[in-house]
Symmetry: C2
Subunit: 245 residues, 2 copies
DNA sequence: GCCTGTCTGATTGTCGGACAATAATATGCG
DNA sequence: CGCATATTATTGTCCGACAATCAGACAGGC
């Protein structure tokens, strides 16, 4: 009949107040926050309370510190910060590799399409360089995995769509461990990835959206075959090796 | 030449320590955290430090309070918590409606396909009920928008893929404001949405993945037309009305 | 002029203790 | 046993303190 009348502790209202200011762009990116003491004075709360509020903002990536710095600055959430949150959420939701793979398969062709349509010259060069780096690399499988992830990320950048950029990160992060196993166990994996990347780069260069999407579809389908050949059960849960940096 | 030798303040190491325990499932969902005093004793730090660490965990949705409760419990991040983080990140990355729309268009057909393949009877019923609710509603456009979002969310649930479930939320949240405008300004919008939903529900019922995906493709394409007809510039930035709950 | 060392003030990280409000738990009673 | 009441535990907030260190000023030597 009656809903509980809301009460929010001060540290929460405080962090929301500051967050709104940031989202509203009244506090602009790169700008330094007032000092803790100053915030405490202005909001008329204790510095401890201010600090609790700041920790919340800090962990949503809205404020951060410059390397070796002391004061807090307004920042936009980085790919890593968003990705970290999403991937740890997925970890706790008992996400399986096949779920992540399915999402990747659903979204990557769209990214490839967008990248082909809108890629800038610089983004194309970035993408091509990722592909070259992967192809040129014979060594450690860890590095190879990084290169593959970098390729996808570069494609996301090329699409010039922040949604794609931010979405890519957590998915790749969760797939990396199993991807490493594939590269280890499936002899032809490197060659197939290399070939797919090459075709995708070409299609993106030629602004041929449909071809790019098609190769991306094949590319992701290959991953699934990789799981089977490498004997990784599709129902393996991700993040068991700790989805953390 | 030299990389900075890392130092992390205690509140950070503390929050990471607890977070790892949660991610590693040593602290299971629903379990109560030790009290602040107890944590302070065990980690040999001050309670203030513990509290700062807890605020971080709280805002990543790893711990939370039960309604009207005092103690903290281990929780898995909810759709809302993840969605909030992602959508505020996108807001600060100057995401435009067309970007969100593009992502939606890329991912929704995949979701529809997955839902058609795997939907349970209950999930189908949920989905159908969302469609019925939208169709039956004549009134307020705010409610209509909610219904549309619910439909997408129900489809995500039906796909039984946590990635899709968590991805859907922030995208919809960002689209809602502009969607409201469309429903207001485009007379035939309701009818077209209703029809698309109906076809999708039917396809999902029949486990016809390709038809479901096709109708979803049309459905999302309709949104884009809606933007044009409603004279919403595609480059409008999302979240200007505050991407917050 | 530029680099180096030193000094000073400001700011953060951490601590200890305090207290009111209230949720959680035990206690007593019918 | 169920329910009201008293006790205790726990959180939210405050205050004050201090060491570490970062930022900037300032001077001296090459």
């Amino acid at each position: 009949m009656f809903e509980p009348l809301g009460y929010a502790p001060a540290y929460l209202r405080l962090s929301e107040a500051i967050r709104d200011r940031i989202l509203r762009r009244e506090l602009k990116e790169g700008q330094a926050l007032p000092t803790e003491t100053e915030l405490a004075r202005q909001f008329e709360v204790n510095r401890s309370t201010v600090r609790e509020a700041l920790r919340k903002l800090e962990s949503s990536g809205l404020v951060g510190r410059r390397a070796g710095g002391k004061r807090l600055f307004v920042t936009r959430p980085t790919r890593e910060s968003v990705g970290g949150g999403l991937s740890q959420a997925l970890t706790l939701h008992e996400t399986r590799v096949v779920d992540v793979w399915e999402a990747l398969q659903a979204v990557q062709p769209g990214i490839a399409r967008a990248a082909a349509l809108r890629r800038s010259t610089e983004a194309l060069e970035q993408l091509a360089s990722c592909a070259r780096r992967f192809a040129g690399r014979r060594g450690d499988r860890e590095f190879a995995v990084e290169d593959v992830a970098d390729f996808f990320n570069a494609l996301g950048e090329a699409s010039d769509n922040p949604v794609f950029v931010l979405l890519n990160e957590p998915l790749l992060r969760l797939l990396k461990p199993s991807l490493a196993v594939i590269i280890d166990r499936v002899p032809q994996a490197r060659a197939r990835i290399e070939s797919a990347q090459k075709h995708i780069v070409d299609a993106v260069r030629d602004r041929d959206a449909e071809t790019a999407a098609m190769w991306m579809t094949r590319h992701t389908r290959d991953f699934r075959r990789g799981y089977e050949v490498a004997c990784i059960p599709l129902s393996t849960e991700v993040g068991q090796d700790l989805g953390v940096a």
